[in-house]
Symmetry: C2
Subunit: 375 residues, 2 copies
């Protein structure tokens, strides 16, 4: 473990934990949601606006940043925090997931992945060592091990071979990581939908001693029930004293279920991407603001929300902006959605701390059900 | 003149004036620049951000708003100020200019213009009476008379007939305007590039007694020299005690020249549109941030500027955002450009007030010349 990169558990409620993760650029209250800042910006948001939603850490994408503007350039400009004016912690993914989903002409071998950029067709190589070096240049507080995200569906044999490759890459990633006070590296459990493979993967990572443990390869089409089942089988195999991060998750109900199963950290493009497509999260469910029923509605999006979109604008105005394709629609709805996620995590943390998690979850379910009934 | 819709001249420097225009929604220090809020939003900006640049009044577009979401709907929602959360003064154009530039299948007769929406092909009619009624429903502090913007080039005969039609429409607009305390209506001088027609137009408007006088049909391709010549011939024909508004202008040097000729108000899409196409205004000229020479430049856009783009980001980062087509590029560059215009107007007002307008203009010209020499 790396110097003062520490994780303290303040309270527990069943498997759920309320904690504080301390890093070089500040502390993160957990359970935490990390907004995604793909290309060095949380789309349509100023960094201070992101902070105002309650976010204390964001995620940066190695794949996007290595291609444009390049890791060496960001390093020369003082690292990703200075470059994008985000002074709080940053977690970077390893590039493994997006190489598989975005790049073309991929070739995987034991060394790593050779691929062509989706931007200009240029050839690049990502290995565990190169991924860790890039994340070092970006100055990520939390570095992720380089892995292969096992596709879904996969046979047990495919999932086994993919997981074993990821575990060899995880060991090389751990080895390549440069220890500095306040910086940490997380390993990533793979193994598809096969609990026994997840157990093997978790054990392999534990043997390497990571600063935190991520669960990858979920929320890729397997469904919530399967995902929760895999969490039930995987989380207990992870060290209790280290943060646990469920990658790419997710919908509010997915996050709540995962928190109840002992997960501490999350990231997802859902609130930001939805904000650019007229979708708003509310306590009573998701709203499509392009719908004509909002055209003359003077009410705010959510009367209980304190974000600028809810404080100063009507649904009718937001509907108008969405219909016109105005940039302000993306700005206001992204802000609202991140605030919704920030409030959700704040509520979960408070409920764990006060021993009222059951009530919190019941109220969440009830409000969503009433929203569906009203729709 | 309408109740407490007042214009006070505080200082003069040659023909240039430093004044205060008071309206129902607040006061405007002149010379003033009005950011354009076409569809009920100054694109890529929150209203409070627009205010922070020094803007005290914005322009709304009758043509766009009548088509979407509709003037009646905005009225039902409390007017344009409430709808878009802009509590300061609003000037609306009459729709005449954009009917001619955007709509299709236009038919002009003495009554007005019949046209088809560029959005959905639906047929609409704009007359002086309908334009004034729409601006009333929008709750515009300053209503513009409905006119035909004479195309450039136009023969003297074309310009005469167009101007005469606009003057008949101006009289009907004045008649249709509903007097309320704090609200005013401006007439628009037409006459193309023909000084004698401009004189006739100004006299016709004066006879109707407008609250302010706009100069239309310029900055349409005639060039700065011709524009300044027409201003020299037109401004003295306008009442000295009423505000003067040069429509659709313009570049910083155009604004400075017009202020020196006695113009008080301006609007232009240049700072906002440029902000969405990687163009930034600086004291040393215009910068294209897509240019590769900015890729590794740690310097801010303009060291003397206090906007967020200059306070917290490098040219390298702004270049990156522009190359990636990120929304944040439009947000930061629009903010910067409006701040540049705000600072320019603040500087002009201070210089007129302190009797140093000559120095101000010499410094502006010198900085721009040094910028060209360095480029």
């Amino acid at each position: 473990m790396s110097g003062d990169f520490t994780f303290e558990i303040l309270a527990q409620a069943g498997a759920a934990r309320r904690g504080v993760l301390s890093t070089a650029h500040g502390a993160i209250d957990t359970p935490a949601f990390m907004p995604v800042g793909t290309a060095g910006t949380v789309k349509a948001m100023l960094p201070e606006s992101v902070s105002s939603t309650g976010a204390q850490i964001i995620l940066g994408n190695t794949y996007h940043l290595m291609l444009r503007p390049g890791a060496e350039r960001i390093a020369a400009l003082g690292g990703l925090h200075d470059f994008m004016n985000w002074k709080a912690p940053i977690l970077t993914d390893s590039g493994g997931f997006q190489v598989m989903s975005l790049a073309s002409l991929r070739k995987i071998d034991e060394a790593g992945v050779t691929f062509r950029s989706h931007l200009d067709g240029s050839e690049h190589v990502l290995t565990p060592e190169r991924s860790i070096a890039i994340q070092d240049m970006l100055d990520a507080d939390i570095t992720m091990a380089f892995d292969e995200c096992t596709p879904f569906p996969a046979t047990a044999e495919q999932a086994l071979h993919s997981m074993e490759l990821s575990m060899r890459w995880a060991a090389r990633s751990r080895q390549a990581f440069r220890q500095r006070p306040g910086y940490g590296i997380f390993g990533i459990v793979q193994g598809g939908t096969y609990p026994e493979l997840r157990q093997i993967s978790a054990a392999a990572l534990r043997a390497n001693g990571f600063d935190g443990y991520a669960i990858g390869g979920l929320a890729v089409g397997e469904g919530q029930e399967t995902m929760f089942h895999i969490l039930d089988e995987t989380v207990p195999a992870l060290p209790a004293d280290r943060p646990r991060y469920l990658m790419g998750v997710g919908k509010p109900a997915d996050i709540i279920g995962a928190v109840m199963r002992g997960v501490d950290m999350f990231d997802c493009v859902l609130p930001t991407r939805s904000g650019r497509t007229a979708q708003a999260f509310t306590r009573h469910g998701t709203i499509n603001l392009r719908n004509a029923r909002h055209a003359e509605d003077k009410a705010p999006l959510d009367v209980e929300c304190a974000c600028p979109a809810c404080a100063s604008y009507s649904r009718a105005y937001l509907h108008h902006l969405c219909r016109c394709g105005e940039i302000l629609a993306s700005m206001l709805l992204t802000w609202h959605n991140l605030r919704y996620y920030g409030d959700l995590m704040r509520g979960l943390r408070a409920a764990i701390g006060s021993g009222t998690l059951g009530d919190f979850v019941a109220q969440f379910d009830d409000a969503q059900a009433r929203g569906r009934a009203a729709a």
